[in-house]
């Protein structure tokens, strides 16, 4: 364990190795002041690499260094090729990774090493267990990039119906916890649209309608949520569905609530929640794009973009003015042609 170990230079079982200093002939700039423990261990690591030694003690040494510095990719690489050379148990290695991935969640290497193990185990691996492990990791850090990317890789790599089956309920659980978790929204897009057609999802029209309903509902809950709007746009773009089809839904989000209007329950077009802070920038933008796609409505589109530039979203004034120009110039092109 780090901190309480005897230096390798004092261990008789390592006496056959002459450690190699990091900088032998050069006085480096920007030196790091390593602990004696780290300096000692990496000196022996350089020596075993030079000797191309593959042994149990190399596995111990590399684990020791990884615990001191999990970002040392050369140590991971050497450990991996040593595991293969020795024919070591990859199941045991995976158990070690369970512990290390939890401690060093943000390190690239812990996730990549896991991927190497699972790939090598192939048919002997247990991807369902991996999905459960990932879920635990997300409890600690619900937006960890590597964790999500690993989950997506795992699903695509094995591509088994039994694994895919649980993904939609899983995403919904994540979004119920935090409807603003963009990683979860991306995972939904990955699962529903970008990884083939899942069993039971062959009716794409049905899938589209289900996704639109789900997203509308989430937008109604908390309208100022960029993740949900981006998902909505993603679905429409992917399925080549016109934005205009959502006009009825969008409009109540583009203006302050009209308290005098009696509320009409329309299940297809849920209204903003009572506490919604309207108007919603993303809805105004969406409506402007609907206008932009229509003949003769470029001026209305430009007006909406201008309202974003001048009133509702001034930080992006430059961008919204760019959109004003785009809308008006393409309208010009339509007239000219």
């Amino acid at each position: 364990m780090p901190g309480d170990s005897v230096l390798y230079s004092e261990r008789p079982e390592w006496s056959d190795i002459q450690p190699i200093a990091q900088y032998e002939t050069v006085t480096p700039v920007a030196p790091i002041f390593y602990s004696d423990e780290y300096k000692d261990a990496t000196g022996y690591f350089r020596a075993v690499v030079k000797a191309n030694e593959r042994s149990e003690r190399v596995l111990q040494l590399t684990e020791h260094i990884i615990r001191l510095n999990p970002g040392h990719y050369s140590v991971w690489q050497y450990r991996w090729s040593t595991l293969l050379a020795l024919g070591s148990s990859l199941e045991d290695e995976l158990l070690l990774m369970d512990e290390l991935a939890t401690t060093y969640l943000k390190t690239y290497q812990v996730w990549h090493h896991r991927r190497l193990i699972i790939t090598e185990l192939g048919g002997k691996s247990n991807p369902a267990r991996e999905l459960r492990f990932i879920r635990q990791g997300l409890n600690v850090d619900s937006k960890n990039y590597h964790t999500w990317a690993y989950r997506q890789w795992l699903l695509a790599h094995f591509n088994e119906d039994a694994l895919w089956e649980g993904e939609l309920p899983f995403v919904e659980e994540m979004l119920d916890e935090d409807v603003r978790n963009n990683s979860a929204w991306h995972h939904r897009f990955f699962t529903v649209w970008q990884s083939g057609v899942r069993a039971g999802e062959e009716d794409r029209e049905y899938t589209l309608n289900r996704e639109l309903s789900y997203t509308k509902e989430k937008i109604a809950l908390a309208p100022n949520n960029g993740s949900a709007w981006n998902y909505l746009r993603g679905v429409l773009d992917f399925t080549k569905t016109s934005y205009s089809t959502l006009r009825t839904f969008i409009e109540p989000y583009t203006a302050p609530r009209d308290e005098s209007e009696p509320e009409v329950l329309d299940l297809d077009n849920p209204l903003p929640s009572k506490d919604a802070q309207l108007p919603c920038v993303a809805a105004i933008e969406f409506l402007a794009e609907i206008y932009e796609s229509e003949v003769d409505n470029a001026k209305r589109a430009a007006e909406l973009y201008r309202s974003l530039a001048e009133v509702h979203d001034k930080i992006r004034e430059k961008y919204w003015n760019y959109r004003v120009g785009e809308a008006l110039s393409s309208a010009g092109q339509v007239v000219a042609s």
Partner: protein, 590 residues
């Protein structure tokens, strides 16, 4: 003006974390006035009627000042004295530590003395692997990312000739190392047995561009890999699921998905910078247009036609005849969406619904500089907005009627697509650590990484750097072809590398392996034409010094040097290294 992010009275972890950051940043905003503002650094209850601020807790108007000297001291101290024990986590990133310091100093206008330059050169050369490429430290495996850091640092401190660092880069082995990492889908491993992601693609393309080893085999299928990483949001993910199975012994081909190559991970600022810069660097490899033969889809990057394609655009149905495409409309929309509110002082976040961080001043803000390489800026339609009067003082964090010094007057007519003023305010007000160096956000400590990427972002927000048509013309005129080896003196294969010690005299020293990037099937004319395109495209980036293109919040004392949007090196350092490796001597007049 300083409204908190709308939460629709529906709190989740994201909105709770967001509110905390907004509260902290309010204390760094000199224009934010609220008597009930709780101080997040003090234990005072938010409901306390007293104003918890001390007079020093908030910057004054005249504190829009870049504390250059304290940042220089911070960086110089790290370079000379080194890093404490906790930086052991960066032991595999030693060339990065040096790059962050040295490029940070370059942006601050500080050059190093010959003695320190030589020490840096020697340190980096000690990290060069016998296998080619540079590792995280001596004896470490070569890695694409540390190779970028080492080569770019050598662009700053190195020189031609013996011990100069440039001609000691073993380009022949480096090229072989790069080729060994290539995957069938156009991606590259970052190092043997390591992961694939677009950071690796970017680092490979920067170094091979600078060192004249960018070839069609090295970039084969790379455009389609990059395009496959774009997500529905418009930004790019780390990587995509390959269309091939890398482990046939484990899975057979039939298990590959029918819809290939989904992005792995969501749209992310860092990966997006790498992807878009890579896309731009690949453009000169596109063969000169020949209408009779369709271009090779795997090596022909294209963007959606400008100014706007048929609506709505989608990259999800790539037409194989036209080659891979990226959707620049959704990209620009997503990039601008990441700029924080006035309450967040206009800083950038790296993903939708995440927190702002000073380093995205470069990874996201810097993307707008890269987009100039695709001809995208606000200028296309600026006449629609320039005519109108700008009612409020600033566009970003400024309250109305704030007294501004003459020098601080904002022309407000720059053609940027993002709010350059606001971003500068974040960097000046919130990202500077009191004891020197810059940081993610208060109250965090400064570090060398955040110091460089805040300064780079500041540079990009102060200057407009773009591929200049005039400079391109000059470069075109002044390019000199590298002649084929004369039959008497030249060996049939490439000369040995590196030259042995006895040959290293000032008089006879020559660039090793000058024909390294020539393909066996390629004529010398075609080889020179390709190198010329790459050299011109990289060297043409110039600072636009016309009125309205340069603007310094807090006055011109805050100026930092302009940075090349593709490489993050100054223009001078970029061109110096390019000239050496392409055998050119033309110096663009300033």
């Amino acid at each position: 003006m300083y409204a908190p992010t709308k939460t629709d009275n529906y709190p989740t972890q994201t909105s709770i974390d967001q509110a905390k950051v907004e509260q902290i940043l309010a204390h760094h905003n000199p224009n934010y006035i609220s008597p009930t503002l709780p101080n997040p650094h003090s234990p005072t209850s938010p409901t306390s009627p007293q104003t918890p601020q001390t007079p020093h807790s908030r910057p004054q108007r005249n504190e829009a000042k870049l504390n250059k000297q304290s940042h220089i001291n911070f960086l110089a101290r790290l370079l000379i004295q080194g890093f404490p024990d906790r930086y052991t986590s960066q032991d595999a990133s030693q060339p990065w530590l040096i790059f962050w310091i040295v490029q940070g100093l370059s942006l601050l206008g500080v050059g190093l003395d010959a003695g320190n330059k030589q020490k840096i050169i020697n340190t980096l050369l000690a990290c060069q692997s016998p296998l080619g490429g540079f590792g995280g430290g001596p004896g470490q495996a070569p890695h694409l990312l540390t190779t970028y850091a080492a080569v770019c640092t050598l662009a700053i401190v190195g020189r031609p000739g013996p011990q100069g660092g440039w001609d000691q880069i073993d380009r022949k082995k480096l090229y072989a190392f790069f080729l060994s990492l290539k995957q069938p889908d156009g991606s590259t491993l970052v190092s043997p047995h390591s992961e694939v992601d677009v950071r690796g693609t970017y680092c490979l393309l920067v170094t091979s561009t600078l060192l004249d080893i960018l070839t069609p085999p090295l970039s084969a299928s790379t455009p389609s890999f990059i395009a496959s990483c774009q997500t529905y949001e418009g930004g790019f993910a780390s990587a995509s699921q390959p269309y091939y199975s890398p482990y046939f012994k484990v899975r057979n081909e039939s298990t590959l998905m029918s819809d290939p190559r989904p992005p792995l991970g969501e749209a992310h600022g860092g990966y997006t910078f790498c992807a878009v810069a890579s896309w731009v660097m690949l453009a000169p490899l596109r063969p000169p247009s020949n209408p009779s033969s369709p271009p090779n889809p795997a090596s022909n990057p294209q963007t959606s036609p400008s100014p706007r394609p048929e609506y709505p655009t989608s990259q999800f149905t790539p037409s194989q005849e036209e080659g891979p495409k990226i959707n620049t409309r959704s990209l620009v929309r997503w990039l601008t969406s990441l700029q924080g509110s006035p309450l967040e002082l206009g800083a950038f976040r790296g993903r939708t619904n995440k927190l702002v961080d000073g380093c995205y001043s470069w990874w996201v803000g810097g993307c707008f500089g890269v987009l100039e390489g695709l001809g995208i800026d606000g200028a296309n339609f600026s006449h629609y907005s320039h005519s109108k009067a700008h009612a409020s003082g600033g566009q970003g964090g400024q309250g109305e009627g704030e007294g501004k010094s003459e020098e601080d007057e904002w022309a407000d007519d720059d053609d940027a697509l993002f709010n350059k003023r606001a971003l500068q305010e974040y960097i000046l007000y919130a990202a500077q650590a009191p004891t020197g160096g810059l940081r993610d956000k208060p109250p965090k400590h400064a570090d060398s990484y955040h110091t460089l990427y805040n300064l780079s972002g500041l540079s990009n927000a102060q200057h407009r750097v773009h591929p200049s048509a005039e400079v391109t013309e000059l470069l075109e005129k002044n390019w000199v072809d590298t002649p084929p080896p004369s039959p008497a003196s030249a060996p049939t294969s490439t000369p040995p590398s590196p030259p042995s010690k006895t040959e290293e005299t000032e008089e006879t020293f020559e660039r090793p392996d000058i024909y390294l990037s020539k393909l066996p099937s390629e004529s010398y004319e075609a080889w020179n034409a390709r190198r010329k395109r790459i050299w011109m495209a990289a060297s043409a980036w110039s600072e636009d010094e016309s009125e309205g293109s340069v603007a310094y919040v807090g006055g011109s004392d805050n100026r930092v040097n302009a940075s090349h949007p593709l490489f993050n090196l100054t223009i001078t350092h970029s061109r110096g290294m390019l000239n050496h490796f392409y055998g050119q001597s033309f110096v663009v007049p300033s």
